[in-house]
Amino acid sequence: MPQLICIDPAEQAINVTFELGETILQATHRAGVDGIIAECGGGCSCATCQVILNADWDETLDAPSAQEADMLSFAIDPTPYSRLACQVELNEKHDGLRLLVAKRQY
């Protein structure tokens, strides 16, 4: 199965396997990655599921929707590479990519 490498807030690297079409949140949640709170369970309504991608993700993703971008602007210290884990769908191009879980979600 394809995998992501997730660095949690304690800077531990965790290999997270994923299924094509599921979201980052679904994959990291199953694996129990620390630090993603996701109060609204994927409803794009809480901004407590911030993850920080890197340049390797460029070209593999569409830009965030207006709703996601608006919610992201209220996440804690968002960066240009921040996304909401519940809004990013994973595909085969994401196998082996890395992401950072935000240090704080609120």
């Binding site: 599921e22 679904q26 949640h29 199953r30 694996a31 129990g32 990655v33 109060e39 609204c40 369970g41 994927g42 409803g43 794009c44 309504s45 901004a47 207006a66 709703q67 608006d70 919610m71 602007s73 209220f74």
Partner: protein
């Protein structure tokens, strides 16, 4: 310490996760009468309903927490509790040091003469969603009773070119929980036709219609989305609750020192409203669970959260910060082709912000509520809660 939690829904699971993350030194018994891993309810009425076999994607707890060594899952219905003895009774008797009632609510059902049970549906559990899905293929006419968020979410999720969906309201308007102006936008964009002031007399199976005061209304399927009632039987039997809910203090403790109640069954002082209320929402389930977790972990802090809520209806996302009385005044702050923001207020004091496709206004309102009250006058002067927040921070 051994804690027994009755129910395994949103509130129970948040409590479990918070206790484990907080290094709780004890054991947790969880009584779950549904025969599946705990799951999220909000997706049941949203786009997930189109494929209700995918229970993996709505799992509530991460696997490491669900399988944590301090948690023991008991898949049984709790028949009674004995607070003085710390006893929880299923077919066996379990004793614990503290009992947590997290029993949630159940869907109300109306009795309609002549309506066969296979045509009568509610949506509260995964089983309900699966059952409904099985009956959908030849349902050309669907009648949804009730005109709240659930009814309109279902209408969007069940939308299909060959299907006619009718929302039948008893009252004189749809979505009475929110302002008329916000409701209007949701109703306009809904695939459902909305009928108000409907009284149902009976169901005529031969012609597959509901017989009503507005004449016959075609219905191959009837979905009842007419609200929920709290599961308070266990509490009532030991004088800890009524049909209105289970009263608690601001630390989620009931009138008995060994029993707490959390989630949408609990009835407690809501600082935002300035009165006691029972609220049905994810934020209430989470915030009451977090309050109780702090107490059980020895760092008590009273409940102080501001309620918030969301509802997805097709392409529209309604987000509400705060909570208001139905009688609170309404002023429209923003109205464009895609967005609409309505402020609810009592005089100058804003009680709730209803934002449609306007996440920034919703989040700004949440932040402003956390900091202090929000003044209507100041908001209208800025023309936006987002700008008001920025100006308050600069």
């Amino acid at each position: 310490m051994k804690i027994g939690i009755v129910g395994a829904g949103q509130a129970a699971c948040t409590l479990i996760a918070e206790l484990i993350r907080g290094q709780f030194d004890g054991n947790i018994l969880v009584f779950n009468r549904e025969s599946r891993s705990p799951y999220q309810r909000p997706p049941l009425s949203k786009s997930w309903l189109k494929n209700p076999t995918d229970t993996q994607s709505i799992r509530l707890l991460p696997e490491p927490i669900e399988t944590h060594s301090s948690v023991q899952w008991i898949q049984e219905h709790v028949q009674a509790i004995e607070p003085d003895n710390g006893a929880i009774l299923t077919n066996t008797r379990h004793t614990v040091d503290h009992i947590v009632l997290a029993t949630g609510t159940r869907a109300k059902r109306l009795t309609i003469d002549g309506l066969p049970s296979d045509k009568s549906h509610v949506i509260r559990t995964v089983d309900d969603a699966v059952r409904l899905n099985h009956k959908l293929s030849d349902a050309l006419n669907i009648a949804i009773l009730g005109a709240g968020f659930l009814a309109f979410e279902l209408a969007s999720s069940l939308d299909h070119p060959e299907r006619t969906i009718r929302v039948l309201a008893r009252g004189n308007r749809a979505l009475p929980q929110i302002s008329a102006k916000a409701a209007e936008r949701l109703v306009d964009q809904s695939p459902a036709s909305v009928y108000v002031g409907i009284r149902i007399d009976r169901y005529d199976e031969e012609s597959a219609v509901l017989v009503t005061n507005h004449g016959p209304i075609p219905a191959d399927l009837v979905i009842m989305a007419v609200g929920a009632e709290p599961n308070t039987e266990l509490a009532k039997a030991c004088d800890l609750g009524s049909h209105e809910g289970i009263p608690t203090d601001s630390f989620m403790q009931t009138n008995h020192p060994l029993v707490s109640a959390i989630g949408e069954v609990s009835l407690h002082d809501q600082p935002h409203l300035g009165e006691s209320a029972r609220i049905e929402s994810i934020s209430e389930a989470n915030d009451t669970a977090i309050t109780l977790a702090k107490r059980l972990l020895g760092q008590p802090e009273p409940f102080s959260a501001t309620p918030w809520f969301w509802s997805d209806q097709g392409d529209l996302k309604l987000q509400i910060a705060g909570l208001c009385a139905r009688s609170d005044e309404e002023s429209c702050l923003l109205d464009t082709e895609t967005e609409r923001v309505v402020i609810r207020h009592r005089g100058d004091q804003i009680t709730a912000v209803e934002a449609i496709n306007a996440a920034k206004e919703f989040m700004a309102a949440r932040r402003l509520f956390e900091e202090d009250g929000i003044s209507l006058k100041a908001t209208l002067e800025q023309g936006s809660l987002f700008r008001l927040l920025q100006s308050s921070r600069s």
